[in-house]
Amino acid sequence: MNPTPVLEPAQDRTMILNMGPQHPSTHGVLRVLLEIDGETVVRLMPDIGFLHTGIEKTCEAKFYQQVVPLTDRIDYLCPMTNNLCYVLAVEKLLGLEIPPKAQWLRVLLNELTRINSHLVWLGTHALDIGAMTVFLYCFREREEVLKLFEAVSGQRMMTSYFRVGGVALEPPLGFFDRVRDFAGYFPEKVDEYENLLTGNPIWMMRTKGVARMTAEDAIALGATGPTLRGSGVDIDLRRDMPYSSYEKFQFKVPVSQEGDVFARYMCRVQELRESIGIVRQALDGMPEGPIKADAPHVVLPDREKMKTQMESLIYHFKIITEGFQVPAGEVYQAVESPRGEMGYYIVSDGTAKPYRVHMRSACFANLQTLAKMCEGRLLADVVAAIGSIDIVLGEIDR
């Protein structure tokens, strides 16, 4: 058997073109096999798996709390979203009640994560199509978001800030002021990006009417997130199947009808504005109270208590050495990640290690739409189409 998939040209006049896995526009290690007839794409086949690390298998050998850092690494652009999805699933298995402050902090940080992820998408997508400036502007603001992450969790990218039962630490003094400051000036920056792109004739020529996909195709192929909403399907899990108190926030779900690259671009840019609105609401309404659930057998005790109280010390020792047992059962928890429906399916057999962890990654399904978008279109549009799906290969290959 051949070690890698091979396409054979179907006709004499067509040829096979190999794109990637080190092509700059494939955002990592995506390989795309293209059968082209002149400049027209006849067939397209993505080849993935270059970044497969077997995270699902690794999870089976870890305690429940040890899986949290692994979830950061599957999608390195939105670590908090993955953290959230995983801890929500485990909390559902345990039947844990999470205090309001922890839930609101999770919402706040998730929306900052969405901004972070969309900024990287916008910058690299524009860069692929040839707009260099936007890339620099986006990374300027992204730097601020990463500094906020560093302040709250000690890490810029692999945050691992959420814990089963709450969040790891109280945010540092002055953190909320810094977020408020960022939320104050960020909308102007979005105007700046839009000034550079939205009305720009070159941008419109490269994106409008390019890589079209109908709503029926998008649903049939399993697309979610902005890839689906760009085709006119109005679904957002934050609003429609709320989790972590999202039902208490007011926000609009941007939907575009055209189903082309420009429609998906508009969806995400408007999401940037909606996210900053949610961040403001979270800051204004941040409840007082504990940040961890009252469940000593699951949640690590405070450092102070651990050093003064025997019982806390015992709990600490037991959680670290034996983990905590989770009642047998199974759950599927989905959240709206910046790329679509991120789902965790966790099966517990009653022990302290998950029996099976499956990650339903949004990009994995969204990537299937690429062939539909590109076949019969020009080769140069493949780059725009890949950018508009917003792929992260870490999440696809896991």
Binding site: M1, N2, P3, T4, P5, I48, G49, H52, G54, E56, K57, T58, E60, A61, K92, L93, L94, G95, L96, E97, I219, A220, L221, G222, A223, V233, I235, D240, M241, P327, G329, E330, V331, Y332, A334, E341, G343, Y345, V347, Y355, R356, H358, R360, F364, A365, L367, Q368, D397, R398
Partner: protein, 165 residues
């Protein structure tokens, strides 16, 4: 949000649109139902999975029109060894349902859902790759994450964490 015991009685669960639809269509295809932690699981008889999905997809009251996920759980050494797990979502009604098919280790074959949802393609290839489940009627059933010449199926429970060698 304390845990409540799972409900497994079909009669009690007929209020759920997916259970009602499948029982009305073919009660013998529904092997078992379970409502646990606010989630509905329906065990479907192995030969009926594709038809059951068509029934759910075309239900006028609550169309489960979106296939969220396909995966598998290996219960080695139990027989039937594999549970193939499907997660369906109804976009108009915002309902989820989980379908399960039990497969023996001697013939881990199940009908492919690609004729119903083309998006099942990658998910089923992944399950084939990592568990060795074969999907009959799949247009391109080849490894997707592991190299083509890899031996074994890594997510099976008898596959060691360190690898074979």
């Amino acid at each position: 949000m304390a845990l409540t015991p799972a409900i497994t009685d079909v009669e009690q669960l007929k209020g759920h649109p997916a259970v009602a639809r499948l029982v009305a269509w073919n009660a013998s295809a529904v092997e078992e139902v379970k409502f646990d932690r606010e989630e509905m699981t329906i065990y479907v008889e192995r030969g009926s999975i594709r038809e059951a999905c068509v029934q759910l997809k075309e239900d006028p009251a609550c169309p489960f029109d979106f296939l969220s996920d396909v995966t598998c759980v290996d219960w080695y050494p139990r027989e039937p060894r594999f549970d193939v797990v499907y997660h369906l979502l109804s976009i108009p009604r915002k309902e989820r349902v989980r379908l399960k098919v039990r497969l023996n280790s001697s013939s881990p074959v199940v009908e492919s859902l690609t004729p119903v949802w083309p998006g099942a393609n990658y998910f089923e290839r992944e399950v084939f790759d990592l568990f060795g489940i074969r999907f009959s009627g799949h247009p391109y059933l080849r490894r997707i994450l592991m190299p083509e010449d890899w031996e074994g199926h890594p997510l099976r429970k008898d596959y060691p964490v360190e690898g074979y060698r």
